[in-house]
């Protein structure tokens, strides 16, 4: 969290959590470098000041090809809102409401839904294949439902396997510190990852490098070894009791109703039917892990009593990723590392990294409402740009539908640069009749728009609530008045509703201040016995009067003003308290009385639901975790797989989270550009064979685009793999099509597989030393300042 010191309406300094003494059990919620640079974000010279429109825009689009490179003209709020509402009306009248696309989600989707509807988009974003598949087989997806134990129980694990888990870069704040307590308690760590991460370093983990998108093959080989070497008496590696009681589909004697017994997982693993055992020798060709290392992994995971088998969403952000989700989960089932202290198998990332369980403190609700969207067109992320360009897309569960999107309304997201193929996205943005973005910087979305509406940052709004992990609730409240002419999204929504002839009070019956008050009043905290929830905030009659809002006095755990002054409420934890969590414990202890929500009531190694649902999707998924080569995966780096002859694009690309940014946000902040220079990482041996040295400007390219970065050569990355940090704002030279910023989605191919998964980590490319002028450091680039101070 962050606190600020304000003088004369300007933040002069920040600090982090100091509301209580710091300890491992009851840690301060310390922010990362991005939070510490937030005043540069809010008060930066490149902050958008006024509503503006593209000089060469006119109804119907004007010179559409100039989007992204036109001049900006300052306009008034009245003109801006009139223009946006007129275009909404004109386009919906002429083409129908399906022609309007509201990107992501937010206030504008509500406005457009109220106005008759709009096309929306959906996809697996951060989750990858963990988005839909896991709940079908009975396991948690890792965000709304958590499949791991809480952080204090993690200290009971003897072995912690971080399979694509890197809290040091992906979960800044407390998680890495929490894992460190498990290390202090004696845990050994293994890191399975294409990159030797800072997490592997700080936990002194054994690193098992593997190729991106090949985790599935490795998991199968580990399970093969468990089966091959297990001896229940002398060398127990498999928890047969767990398998038999808690799962279906492992062997022919434990199949779900209606399934063909010969389709069991065990026979697949042994190659009984297809003649191909999924042995370490089979897997090594795919994943690159030596057979003896695979066997070692199997022995460690299988023979250690209390293992935390943890994965992130990153390994599942691949094409054809559902089988990996099935395989990883099945490894947990076979070893029985679930439902007991120190034993857990599941997703461990983001706000819940290393810390699973229900929220101990919950935010309340604002009282705002969301209307139903009459338009049912929902386009998968990988098809959205193609839908605009080609006029059709796949409606999940139905089939091909026509599309004629003419208006793009960007909400608080970075759609243009965080969907596959930025180049396709730009073409799409130059085809439609109108593009509008709400933003506070000239983001990529804003840059390619016709009208940009300047919005307030959280510091300029009434306030709101944020959960950073299960133990805390952060209350951010107004810090400064809106800068320049910035307005909140809610204000914009209300103004548009008026111009569209709708009553703003229907969606926004209360003021923003009342909404914030409502959220505070309805927040709850766990009771001391850990069994129920009670009001968090104590509110007095005086509070209600001082705030000038509607409400009723109530008792609570913390006084309203104190909560706002502190900025946080944190449940104090200690070992043995009533707030711990063991994932799936109830089910594992009583599988028959406490069944899971699956058709069989058990974990489904054989999952008919996944298979059936995939027929409504894009590619068919087997009910059991059968290996399929991933589209644009390792196998695709070869012209001839049999002869191992490499092709045009011999390298695989992974796109790790990068501490300069939260996805794309903060990429423009000078302090962060200075602190985190954003190189592309390449293995030292690979670099040497291409004559590349650290500091050289290199070009990465494939059929979809070209991008530049300074190279950083390293021994911490698997050969054949390039790590291009996620989220850089593209800066494309229109003459040669080369992006100089290292924007990751210059290289991604728009592919949809399985249930609709996005595969950001199944990308292939080539790399060469750039022959043009070397890049200057990012921090020395010009900022995107539209109206410099003193200019109009």
């Amino acid at each position: 969290m962050n606190k600020v010191l304000v003088k004369d309406g300007v933040v002069v300094r920040q600090k982090t959590d100091d509301t209580h003494a710091d300890s491992p059990d009851f840690p301060q919620q310390r922010g990362c470098l991005r939070g510490r640079s937030q005043r540069q974000q809010v008060f930066g010279a490149d902050r958008l000041k006024y509503p503006m429109k593209r000089k060469n825009w006119k109804p119907g689009g004007g010179k559409k090809e100039l989007r992204g490179k036109d001049q900006w003209v300052r306009i008034s709020w009245d003109e801006a809102l009139d223009t946006v509402s007129s275009e909404i009306k004109r386009i919906s009248n002429e083409y129908g409401n399906e022609a309007i696309w509201a990107t992501g989600s937010g206030e504008m989707t509500k406005v457009l839904s109220e106005n008759g509807g709009c096309t929306t988009d959906y996809g697996t974003t951060s989750w990858g294949a963990w988005y839909w598949a896991p709940t079908m087989m009975g396991v948690a997806e890792g965000w709304n439902e958590l499949g791991i134990n809480d952080r204090i129980d993690l200290r009971n694990s003897q072995l912690i396997v971080l399979w694509g888990v890197n809290p040091a870069s992906s979960s800044p704040g407390s998680p890495t510190y929490n894992y460190l307590q498990a290390k202090k308690a004696g845990a050994q760590f293994i890191s399975i990852d294409p990159k030797y991460t800072e997490s592997a370093q700080v936990f002194d983990a054994d690193w098992v490098p593997l190729r991106p998108g090949t985790d599935h093959a490795l998991a199968l080989a580990i399970m093969y070894t468990l089966l091959d070497e297990d001896d229940p008496k002398n060398n127990p590696l498999i928890d047969w009791d767990f398998l038999n009681k808690c799962t279906v589909g492992f062997d022919k004697d434990h199949m779900p109703k209606g399934a063909d017994p010969k389709d069991n997982f065990k026979d697949y693993l042994l190659g009984t039917l297809d003649g191909e055992p999924k042995s370490p020798e089979w897997a090594t060709e795919i994943c690159g892990v030596a057979p003896e290392d695979i066997r070692k992994l199997a022995r460690q995971i299988g023979s250690t009593e209390r293992v935390a088998l943890l994965t992130g969403w990153g390994p599942a952000r691949i094409n054809d990723g559902e089988g990996w989700v099935q395989a990883f989960s099945t490894l947990g089932f076979m070893t029985g590392h679930m439902g007991r202290s120190g034993k857990m198998t599941g997703v461990s990332c983001h706000r819940s990294s290393g810390n699973g369980g229900p929220w101990l403190v919950k935010p309340g609700s604002s009282g705002y409402t969301s209307p139903e969207n009459p338009v049912t067109n929902k386009v998968n992320h990988n098809e959205i740009f193609k839908a605009i360009l080609d006029g059709k897309y796949h409606q999940k569960g139905e089939g091909v539908r026509k599309a004629n999107i003419q208006l793009i309304y960007h909400q608080y997201n970075a759609t243009l640069q965080t969907r596959t193929s930025i180049n396709d996205g730009i073409k799409a943005h130059r085809k439609v009749e109108f593009v509008v973005t709400n933003s506070y910087n000239l983001t990529t979305n804003a840059k390619y728009s016709d009208v940009v509406l300047p919005v307030t940052s959280e510091w300029e709004r009434e306030g709101g609530l944020l959960t950073g992990n299960r133990e805390i609730l952060i209350a951010h409240s107004n810090i400064v008045d809106p800068l320049y002419e910035a307005k909140s999204d809610v204000w914009i929504a209300k103004e548009l509703l008026k111009r569209l002839g709708k009553d703003p009070k229907k969606l926004y019956p209360v003021s923003e201040k009342q909404a914030f008050f409502n959220e505070l009043a309805t927040s709850t905290v766990i009771t001391k016995d850990g069994k129920d929830y009670e009001p968090l905030v104590e509110i007095t009659a005086k509070d209600i009067k001082d705030w000038n809002v509607d409400g009723k006095p109530q008792k609570g755990r913390i006084a309203l003003q104190e909560f706002l002054d502190r900025g946080i409420y944190q449940v104090e934890r200690k070992p043995g308290d009533n707030y711990g969590h063991i994932a799936y414990q109830d089910f594992v202890e009583n599988p028959n009385e406490q069944p899971l929500g699956t058709p069989s009531g058990k974990f489904e190694i054989y999952c008919e639901t996944i298979h059936k649902e995939s027929k409504k999707g894009w590619t068919e998924i087997s009910p059991i975790p059968k290996y399929v080569p991933k589209t644009v995966g390792y196998e695709d780096t070869f012209d001839d797989w049999g002869k191992k002859k490499k092709g045009k694009y011999p390298f695989q690309v992974v796109t790790p989270h990068y501490l300069r940014r939260s996805h794309t946000v903060f990429d423009n902040v000078p302090w962060l550009r200075e602190a985190m220079p954003n190189p592309v990482f390449i293995n030292k041996t690979d670099a040497k064979t291409r004559g590349i040295k650290t500091g050289d400007t290199v070009m990465l390219y494939n059929d979809h685009g070209k991008t530049l970065r300074p190279a950083e050569t390293t021994e911490t990355l698997m050969p054949g793999v390039i790590a291009l940090p996620h989220g850089a704002w593209p800066e494309i030279n229109e003459e040669d099509g080369i992006d100089k910023a290292g924007a990751d989605n210059m290289l991604t191919k728009p592919v949809t597989t399985g249930l609709g998964t996005s595969g950001w980590n199944t990308v292939i490319c080539n790399i060469e030393k750039y022959k043009g002028e070397p890049l200057k450091e990012d921090v020395k680039w010009e900022q995107r300042i539209v109206f410099p101070e003193g200019e109009v």
Binding site: R13, D18, L180, Y196, E198, E715, M718
Partner: protein
């Protein structure tokens, strides 16, 4: 009072640079000026690499070459806690201290035309708070306190590969590696 110093636990540092940016925020440092810096070192080879990050500011040395070579005596060591600070009334911005310091601690302020550096957040310490870098570190890898106490607690090592030898200036820093 005792000589003050920093302890840096390299085994816990993940190189996130929160200490660097919190220091920049606290001291309002523009791009190019950094009172605290994080250096990353890599050794070993695939698949057994060694990765280390080291956060360094001013080590408030026993034999500070910045003080010894300051022509105007602007750079001096406070008697009360051994903290090295700049007297801006005397500083002419000649940058000799910058050239002399093996750790890069003195940082030139272009706008001011004078040297600036880590002063252990004297203003925060006077209010009973810790230096910004210590209070902000997510991994709790930085400690500040009397150097004698830090040495008693963490040992007296002040060297690590990549850092100049501690025999040059006898820095008041303890490094766990």
């Amino acid at each position: 009072m005792a000589q003050m110093g920093f302890f840096i636990d390299v085994t816990k540092c993940i190189g996130c640079k929160t200490c660097v940016v919190s220091c920049k925020d606290k001291n309002d440092l523009e791009v190019g000026r950094n009172f605290r810096r994080v250096y990353s070192f890599e050794s070993g080879s695939f698949p057994n690499p060694i990765l280390r990050h080291l956060s360094i500011s001013c080590n408030h040395c026993d034999h500070p070459t910045c003080v010894e070579n300051c022509p105007t005596t602007a750079m001096y060591k406070r008697k009360e806690d051994g903290v090295v600070v700049v007297d801006h009334d005397k500083c002419v911005g000649c940058r000799y201290c910058e050239w002399n310091c093996p750790y890069g601690a003195p940082q030139y302020n272009e706008a001011l035309g004078k040297m600036t550096k880590c002063d252990t957040c004297l203003d925060l310490r006077e209010k009973g708070e810790e230096p910004a870098c210590v209070a902000s570190c997510p991994m709790r890898a930085i400690e500040f306190g009397p150097i004698d106490e830090l040495r008693k607690k963490h040992g007296d090592n002040a060297d690590i590969e990549g850092l100049p030898s501690s025999s040059i200036t006898h820095p008041n820093i303890v490094i766990k590696k």
